[in-house]
């Protein structure tokens, strides 16, 4: 078990723009860190640098207090699960899992014991003699996990391990990975572009964009207090609604209660999550407006009911910017209806329009 620490890590491919710039963070021993961001943001490059599959151009990576910049992948005491699983097609499931142990000259009886243990945990016992091509996607994924756990490494690295599975299996495997990591107490670093996976797995979430870190923190903190507009829109589905506010100018028609917000001279972006736009259902008493709350008059133009909740899409003042609201239960408003939505002042997010950074409330 070990802590993984990155200090001012950067990667520049020869004659090209930096892929990763000045990344510093530390994953505590036994922590589950998720690197998340859109494709091309450098998260996989960063993971591969930690694994030793890419050279480190700048900065230092250390695993368990040992700088590993010049250490071969096999000597870093890590195990990696690849997106395409990278199972050895000519070996049985047993041999796939035993390969790493055999390379390290582990005695055969111990190999057998460790593989049996991993197969038991991952429910792979009936398949040990099969070749990877005879397995389903989920089973291959579990073999890849098994190959990682038999080695008892200090760190698990996951490179989008669930992206080749269908949605249902992905959900199930996500839970299994988290359980397994808790059970083994191994430090894990996990790369994904799926914000749901990121939110559910991480103790520590690192949001990356264009080679730099946007924000680091626990998932709920990032959700509740996103540091930048990028994080605000990347974390959460459907994404946060954003509307521009200019200082001094009148707010767009249909928007009330924004006059008291501390809008900087360059302007601001007001963010409201869809679930924080509350509308009164028929027969319910109207939601009372408190000082500092923001009111929006939205004319509904599309309704998506998914059973437990309903997504209402509407335009501000009938013609303005489009907003999405997320309401509990069924809320089948006919298109064309105009309703008043209220966002509580504690649920408002304000960002500087020039820098994209969060403006903290002064109260």
């Amino acid at each position: 078990m070990a802590e993984v620490a990155l200090s001012a890590v950067g990667k520049i491919y020869a004659g090209s723009v930096p892929a990763v710039k000045d990344i510093t963070f530390a994953v505590p021993d036994g922590g589950f860190c998720v690197l998340v961001g859109p494709s091309g943001c450098g998260k996989s490059t960063l993971l591969r640098m930690i694994a030793g599959l890419e050279t480190i151009t700048m900065g230092e990576v250390s695993i368990g207090n040992r700088v590993v910049n010049r250490v071969e992948p096999m000597d870093r005491d890590i195990a990696m699960v690849f997106q395409n699983y990278a199972l050895y097609p000519h070996m049985s499931v047993y041999d796939n899992m035993a390969y790493g142990l055999r390379n390290r000259k582990t005695p055969e009886p111990e190999i057998a014991a460790r593989v049996a243990e991993a197969a038991r945990i991952l429910e792979l016992e009936p398949y040990l003699k099969r070749r990877p091509r005879e397995l389903s996607g989920g089973q291959r994924q579990r073999v890849a996990m098994g190959r990682a756990i038999v080695r008892k490494p200090q760190v698990f690295l996951f490179d989008e391990p669930l992206s080749n599975l269908d949605a249902k299996l992905r959900g199930a495997m996500r839970v299994e990975i988290k359980k397994l990591q808790r059970q083994l107490g191994v430090t894990a670093i996990y790369v994904t572009h799926d914000q749901l996976e990121a939110m559910t797995l991480a103790d520590m979430l690192v949001v990356m964009n264009q080679g730099v870190v946007e924000q680091i923190g626990d998932p709920l903190t990032l959700y509740e207090r996103p540091a930048t507009t990028f994080v605000a829109q990347f974390i959460g589905a459907p994404p946060m609604n954003m509307i521009e506010l200019s200082p001094g100018a009148a707010p767009p028609p249909g928007l009330d209660g924004v006059q008291s917000l501390p809008v900087p001279p360059a302007g601001a972006l007001l963010g409201i999550r869809p679930e924080h736009l509350a509308v009164s259902a028929d027969g319910e008493p109207p939601i009372t407006d408190r000082p500092g709350d923001v009111d929006l008059d939205l004319t509904i133009d599309a309704v998506e009911a998914v059973g437990a909740e309903t997504y209402l899409h509407g335009r501000l003042g009938g013609v303005g910017q489009s907003f999405t609201a997320r309401e509990h239960g069924k809320m089948l408003l006919p298109p064309g209806t105009t309703r008043r939505f209220i966002a509580r002042r504690e649920h408002l997010h304000l960002f500087d329009a020039a820098t994209g950074r969060r403006i903290e409330a002064r109260s």
Partner: protein, 293 residues
């Protein structure tokens, strides 16, 4: 699921197959049948009288010491050429697969020998190793090596083996390189993380995954050394000295064309055909089983 097209008419599939079948029939089956028929005939040197003699040609062949010599020369020659051509090509392909500077030029240059006609290849190697004029032969003499492929049967065999292998390396190289490039990079990375040193990675991961390619090349190379090396031998040694480089296919030519023994030559080519068919069948039956996926 495999995609398949279905044709409405019954004639169209046959029509589409016809050109290939025609070529095979005219240039393979007809000559093969003719050779079998010819091998039962005895002709005088001027082609005036022909006699049907059943298996006499075969009986004479198996009583001939020179025929057994040709068989053993062929065995040594084919094992050496195949082993050399495959192993050197594999080594070169592994190097070319790395991210070398100028890998493109390197690949192109390696492919060229395949475009050289066998006889020309033979002449080139002969030039280099001709005992009195050849540059490399002189170098060998200066190193006190008593090199003379015209007189020394070992030297002659070495020379034709080198020339024949050199020409086949290009073809093998191309296939090995394609095979290597088809191996997903993540497998190699996984093996590196799994603690396999480069040599071990090669023998436990890369080579097994290349085995279908290697098997295919083995079959092609065997056929190559048995039949297509004729031109090289003809240009370099004429089968000499004293039959030291006379392989089965060269003997077919020599006895039939130069010796005028058409029946005996036909009998030899029938036997040669049987050997190659047998070897290929053996490879498919036994070696292919050990080949992965």
């Amino acid at each position: 699921m495999e995609k398949r097209s279905y044709f409405a008419g019954r004639l169209l599939p046959y029509a589409l197959l016809a050109p290939q079948l025609l070529v095979t029939i005219i240039f393979f089956y007809v000559p093969a049948v003719q050779a079998v028929y010819q091998s039962f005939l005895l002709q005088d040197a001027f082609g005036i009288s022909t006699q049907f003699v059943w298996f006499e040609n075969y009986q004479l062949l198996f009583a001939d010491h020179a025929y057994y010599q040709a068989m053993s020369v062929t065995a040594v020659f084919s094992i050496l050429v195949t082993a050399l051509a495959l192993s050197i090509a594999l080594l070169l392909a592994v190097q070319a697969d790395k991210n070398l500077k100028g890998a493109g030029v390197y690949k192109t240059l390696l492919i060229w020998p395949y475009a050289v006609a066998p006889v020309v290849a033979g002449v080139l190697w002969l030039f280099m190793f001709q005992p009195s004029l050849g540059t490399l032969a002189r170098g060998l003499h200066e190193l006190d090596v008593d090199w003379n492929p015209y007189l020394n049967s070992g030297d002659a065999l070495t020379l034709v083996v080198l020339a024949a292998a050199w020409k086949q390396i290009s073809y093998n190289f191309l296939f090995f390189l394609a095979g290597l490039q088809a191996i997903p990079k993540s497998l190699i990375e996984a093996a590196a993380i799994d603690g396999a040193q480069p040599m071990r990675r090669f023998w436990t991961i890369i080579f097994p995954l290349l085995s279908p390619t290697a098997f295919y090349l083995l079959t092609v190379n065997i056929v190559y050394v048995f039949f297509d090396t004729f031109g090289i031998i003809h240009a370099v040694t004429n089968g000499g000295p004293a039959g030291a480089t006379t392989t089965l296919v060269y003997k077919v030519f020599n006895d039939g064309r130069a010796g005028g023994d058409l029946g005996g030559s036909a009998a030899q080519s029938v036997i040669l055909m049987a050997i190659v068919i047998g070897l290929t069948a053996f490879q498919f039956r036994f070696i292919e089983r050990k080949v992965n996926y």
